[in-house]
């Protein structure tokens, strides 16, 4: 089934002339890549980075500037990716000394400082020159997004079944225990942060190559971070397919909500996010997988904790 899906995605541009459909496909793939890049550190490693937009922005800006200055996109995109990964190293090395909420707030602050700085240095809108506009086609953008989404998803899949992934999982579950069983938590955090930033930069780069005209500051807007989070939690945080599932649901919802309830849709997304975190912490992917198991687990958990407390009471002197 996955194979058929992949074939359909690859063949899509050949069957549809409507650029609207390809645009949709592009957005789903771009958001999948962005959300998965957040998920690599946040979902698998449990480190909540609220400054993800900064790396998206760095990748977008670097790629776009290099490309508009004549570099081939196949060179500009890796350069943008590398710039974002390098920024990940520079910000992560001190930032990851902070824990939990401090790390989250710290990354948010750094990203906002970067956004404001970029707005001051580059206040002009970045538009494609006429020659570029004339040559513009959606298909190559679509394929780039497809390739990137595939790369990030494959990385997540490899991670989930690797030693590195086990180290991240232990760290996410309990950092002190992870250290106690030999996981160098700081090293693993930093490595995951760099990979996550790099992929966010790549997603930014694809966006910079795709979008006709935007203010550089816009690529640093925190909305990229929050969309990535919302998508990841919708689909299933820490899962391989969650970001893809979440991106589809998110874009459909956004389309419907933004058309009908222009003013309210941000509020609705906020409420939805909280509902998901509280009621469906595993997201759609987990909910789907565990539907038949869930009731049984609930019963077992309850009986276990009762048995435990009885036992403890019986044993206490």
């Amino acid at each position: 089934m996955a194979l058929a899906g992949a074939a359909a995605l690859v063949a899509m541009p050949a069957f549809t002339a409507a650029s609207g459909v390809l645009n949709w496909g592009f957005l789903i793939l771009l958001y999948t890549a962005l959300a998965q890049s957040w998920n690599l550190l946040g979902g698998f490693g449990g480190q909540v980075n609220l400054g993800h937009a900064a790396f998206f922005g760095i990748g977008a800006l670097a790629t776009r500037i290099l490309w508009l200055h004549g570099m081939a996109v196949f060179a500009a995109l890796p350069a943008g990716t590398a710039a974002a990964a390098a920024a990940g190293l520079v910000i992560g090395a001190p930032g990851l000394r902070l824990r939990g909420p401090y790390f989250a707030v710290g990354t948010l602050a750094v990203a906002e400082i970067l956004r404001i700085t970029v707005g001051n240095i580059l206040p002009e809108v970045s538009s494609l020159p006429a020659a570029r506009l004339a040559a513009y086609a959606i298909a190559p953008r679509y394929y780039l997004a497809l390739g990137l989404a595939a790369c990030v998803t494959i990385t997540a899949r490899m991670l989930a079944h690797s030693r590195f992934g086990y180290g991240l999982a232990a760290m996410r579950e309990d950092e002190e225990v992870a250290e106690a069983i030999g996981v160098s938590t700081f090293r693993y955090k930093l490595l995951a942060f760099i990979i996550s930033s790099g992929f966010a930069g790549a997603a930014g780069g694809v966006f910079g190559y795709y979008h006709l005209s935007f203010y550089p500051q816009f690529a640093f807007n925190p909305v990229w971070t929050f969309d990535a989070l919302l998508i990841t939690f919708l689909g299933g945080v820490g899962t391989v397919w969650g970001p893809l599932a979440g991106a589809v649901v998110f874009l459909l919802l956004r389309e419907v909500l933004a058309l009908r309830l222009v003013e309210l849709h941000l509020l609705i997304f906020g409420v939805l996010f909280i509902l998901i975190v509280v009621a469906l912490p595993g997201g759609f992917v987990e909910a789907w997988r565990s539907l038949p198991v869930m009731r049984r687990e609930l019963v077992r958990e309850a009986s276990n904790s009762v048995a435990d407390s009885v036992r403890r009471r019986r044993r206490s002197p």
């Binding site: 309990d174 106690a180 069983i181």
Partner: protein, 253 residues
Amino acid sequence: MTVRPEPFAPHRVQGTLLQVEGLCKAFGGLRAVDDLSFELTEGEILGLLGPNGSGKTTVFNLIAGALRADAGRVRLSGRDITRHPASIRTRLGIARTFQLVRPLPHLTALDNVLVAQLFGRGGGPLRPEARDASRRLLDLVGLGAKTSVPGVNLTLVERKRLEIARALATHPRVLLLDEPLGGLNATEVETALALFRKIRADAITLVIVEHNVPAVRSLCDRLIVLNSGRRIAEGKPDEALARPEVIEVYLGR
């Protein structure tokens, strides 16, 4: 079946494995560990006793690297590890269990042990052998039927066993057991004691913190008794427990 299925040669040499010198740790104004020194001989079972709050767990945290000492040194085989992070100490051969059990809640029992197997001393890549070794350790502690149960769904007794299996999976030279018998019934205590003897027979040196005095008496070669972070007695179990200072601390309040 052995506790350590890996190819390490057992250390049969009788020598000093761990040295603690002038260890101090204060929390605010409270001296939890106060100028404590002792040595651990390879292959022995040392009991660390003392009333609640006397600093036993803090000593473990200082040896394992979960806390930084204010003063003093910790040496493993002569090597100064006082400034090493916990993960490096684990890879050098110090493992510990947690008094308040801490399974990795959303990982299965098998994965809990497997991570330790992959990252502990002599750990390596994710191969089927690592998984087999982890499964054998779960069998050893009596959790063979629980391999795919997530940590959160284990009972207290099962979690205590998982703590031990996970610590063993790091292939320790020294194993620090923090109240491993708390909450166990008489039969479970007997099983656990047999397991500890077996672990020792596999050349792992044990330090055990335990309030169960009969168990400690039968298991340990030597005791150190703490009170307010200081050593008040040391010696063979019968001797140490008969000391007036110890009797006073335990009964005199």
